[in-house]
Every structure is written in structure tokens, then in C-alpha cells.
Amino acid sequence: MATRRVGGQTIFFEDLPKLVSAHTIVGKNEGQGPYSEYFDEILEDDLLGQPTAEKAERQILQQAVEQALSKYGLVPQDIQYYVSGDLLNQVISAVFSARNLAIPFLGIFSACGTFAQSLGLGSILLHGGFASKVLVATSSHYQTAERQYRYPIELNIQHRPTNQHTVTGAGACVLSADGEGPKITHVTFGRIVDMGLKDPNDMGSAMAPAAFDTLEKHLKDIECSPDHYDLILTGDLGRQGFKMLKIIAEKKGLALGTNLQDGGVLIYGEDPKYGAGASGAACSAVMTLGYGLSLLREGKIRRLLLVGTGALLNQLTVQQGDSIPTIAHAVAIEA
């Protein structure tokens, strides 16, 4: 059987999976940032009137999923697989969002790189002929992430300039074998990269080598230079990680131009309140489905490469002195 692999790590599609429908929801803070016009829905209350932030997060995810389906006139029964994940233990928001859909569910985790992973896996399911429509979604919430990975919200903490702020929001989209929309051409799943960094307050620096590893592999596999893409969007490196990625690229002789941008740097603008910028599983989801897809649809760009980055840590590994394993998955999308 012929494989659809190119180079060492990349897969390509012939019948290109299409992003036929997408919906993005962001919280209040993200809605005040410079990219607010690209998001479909901006919440006035990050808790949506729910008693807990965990309940609010799954509600946001569910809402994004429902909207992505109804925009294209679909009901859950039209979808064969729901691929979803989030940052919480046991990807619990995704689990709850799948409860009412009553369709086969695949819960996945790559921390903040979950969205790119779900796009890749969804495309494979479609291309393998195992489905005609796949629903893909991820979410994160500032309050739920803080309490699971860090400290109580109201605690007296002085944040460092390298700290990142988890995006509250969710992005959902429908991948389809037929129909119209931006197409997924290649996927490069990343390997775990661990440079021995241990500081959970600087996840950007930890993730940058993973982003570079996957980006370099991807470009080598498809035998293209970085300017093959009009936009290379890394997920959530933040200002510090973005800086480190550029430094690594320079040292390794890979010329990255102005077509390289980072979701974590962009979403809140320059506001120092958010430290090095944004992070979270929703960050790359809303930036890809909101900002990236808009540019593709309006014809401002033709080729987009999403490099979704994730820092795979938890409180126990940090407290037990382990370093931070990181990952990056790349997904190429074409207008």
C-alpha cells in the first residue's frame, strides 16, 4: 500500500480535507485586544453566569461546537467523529462538551498544541475514508488553567515578564471531504523536545526548540523555504518564546521573515499586563480559525502554516524538579 508520506515526518493529502465551517468564541480580555474583529463571539462575562469556571469553559466549548455545526446547516448526526481536547485533567471540558453530541468522541491532549493535533488527526480520518465529516474543537479558560497549573486567582503573586496569560475561549470547525473552504494539504506531527528547562514561568523559551524542530522538519520534508508560506503562525510562544525561536533559527541558518507570527504575541497586543502574551489551547484555535481563516478567505494570503506549540507539564512534574517536555505540530492550510 502506497504511503502518503514525504520526507521523514510529514504526511500529505490528495483529496484535500476542507475547513467548511468554523466558529470562535473569546473572553472579555481577548475581545479588547487588537484582533477582536476576527472573532465570531466575544463574551461579556467569562463565567457565562455559571457557578464555576470549569462549567463555564465546557459551556463555551459546547457553544462553539453548536455554532460551527449550525452555520453549515449540520446536526451532530452528520458528523462521524468529534476530535477535541483542552488543558484540564482528563481533558474534562472536551468530555463534557461531547456528552450531548452523542457521536463517537476522541479526546486528545498536546496542551496548547492540541488544536493543531486535532486538525491533523481529523484530516487523517477524512482522507482515510473513515469519515465524511469530522468536528474538531479545543478550549481553554484563564481561571481553570490558573487553578490547575498555578495558584488561586486572587493570590498575591507578582508575575514575571515571561509569564503568559491563558486565553479564555474556544474554537471549533468542521472538516469535510467535500464542500468549499480552505484546504489542509500537509501535516507534520512533532516529536517531544526537552532542552532541560525547568521554569514554569517561562514556557515560551521551553517551547521554542520544539517549534523550530517541527518547522525545520516540515520545510525540509516538503523541500520548501519559509517564504513558501504567506503566514507561518506559531501557536503561543509569546514574546519570549518567539524571540528564542528567531535566535535558534538564526543560529541554524534558517531565514525566517516577517511572514512568521505568533498567536500568543498577537492576541493581547502590547499590553504588559499579560506578560509575554497569551497561551492556552484556545489561543492557536481562535487565531487560526479567526484571524488565519479570514485572511485565507479574503485572499490576503494563500498558504498558512500553523505550528501549534505545547508545554507538557503539570504541577507534580514541576514540584518534583522535572524539566518541561514540549511539542509542536504543523498543519499546512491552503486557500
Binding site: 457557578p51 464555576t52 487553578r147 495558584y151 488561586p152 486567582i153 486572587e154 493570590l155 498575591n156 503573586i157 507578582q158 508575575h159 515578564p161 515571561t162 526537552d194 532542552m195 532541560g196 528547562l197 517561562d202 523559551s205 526548540p209 519570549q240 524571540k243 528564542m244 535566535i247 535558534i248 543560529k251 541554524k252
Partner: protein, 146 residues
């Protein structure tokens, strides 16, 4: 690139620690809490008979101030500016307990708030009591109480 090389590269390229700025702001914020404490103590001393009673009431009032500022969502903003100046005074201790109580209230009064209220403040109590005991022990030995 070797991990050690990269770690060095990260250290060289991290934003500089604004130590002097942080020290000055911590002094101002911590000093302000102390000033408020002094004003309260002076006022209470006029009412209470002994210094011990006056200082106990002052501490209670400062704890209340810390808790209320935490409940209003202001204390974490003060800490963002003041750092240790907001963490070290007793208002900061009050903040750690109140913040944890607020956070874990959602998991119920017993296993949530009750069990986790001291999750941040616990180490302060444990090592505060331990160091108090050790200092008292050393003092007793030095002064020949045994």
C-alpha cells in the same frame, strides 16, 4: 544544539530582572501597610488597656483589611506592583488564606474550602512554629534554663 547551550542562550536572552524597581516598590507598598498598622495601633492603644491587647486587635484589623481587599479583587493587583511588600505583612498572610478559601469554595465547604484554605498559608504556619520553637530552644540553652 545541546541542552546546556540552549539553557545558556535562554539565560542570556531573558528580560532583565527589574530588581531595583521591585525593591523600591516593595518598600513603598510594604511600608504603606506598616504605616496603616501603626495608625491603627496608635488609635487602639488609646482604647485598650495593655500593649498586648492593643497589638492583638491591630493584627485582627489588618487581617480583616487584607481579607476584604482580597474579596474585592484588589489585593492581587497591589501585589502585582508591590511584590514582597504585599506578601510579607500580615495582610499578605490573610490574602493567602482568603484567596484559597474563595478559590476552593466551589468544591464545597468541607472538602473544598475547609480542606484547602491553608494550602498556601500552611507552610508559613509549619515553618513559623518550627522556627519559633528552635529559637526558643536555643535561647533556653544559651541562657542556661536547663
Amino acid at each position: 544544539m545541546k541542552p546546556q547551550e540552549y539553557q545558556q542562550l535562554v539565560r542570556e536572552n531573558q528580560p532583565p530582572r527589574r530588581t531595583w524597581r521591585n525593591v523600591i516598590l516593595a518598600f513603598v507598598v510594604g511600608g504603606s501597610f506598616s504605616l496603616i498598622g501603626q495608625i491603627v495601633l496608635d488609635f487602639v492603644s488609646g482604647v485598650e488597656r495593655t500593649t498586648d491587647e492593643a497589638s492583638a486587635i491591630t493584627l485582627a484589623i489588618m487581617i480583616l483589611i487584607g481579607a476584604v481587599l482580597t474579596g474585592l479583587g484588589i489585593y492581587d493587583e497591589i501585589a502585582e506592583i508591590g511584590g514582597a511588600g504585599a506578601a510579607v505583612p500580615i495582610t499578605g498572610f490573610s490574602n493567602t488564606v482568603t484567596a484559597a478559601a474563595m478559590e476552593f469554595r466551589r468544591e464545597g465547604f468541607i472538602l473544598g474550602m475547609g480542606a484547602k484554605m491553608f494550602v498556601i498559608a500552611g507552610p508559613v504556619l509549619v515553618y513559623g512554629i518550627l522556627s519559633g520553637f528552635l529559637v526558643a530552644l536555643i535561647k533556653s540553652v544559651v541562657l542556661g534554663y536547663f
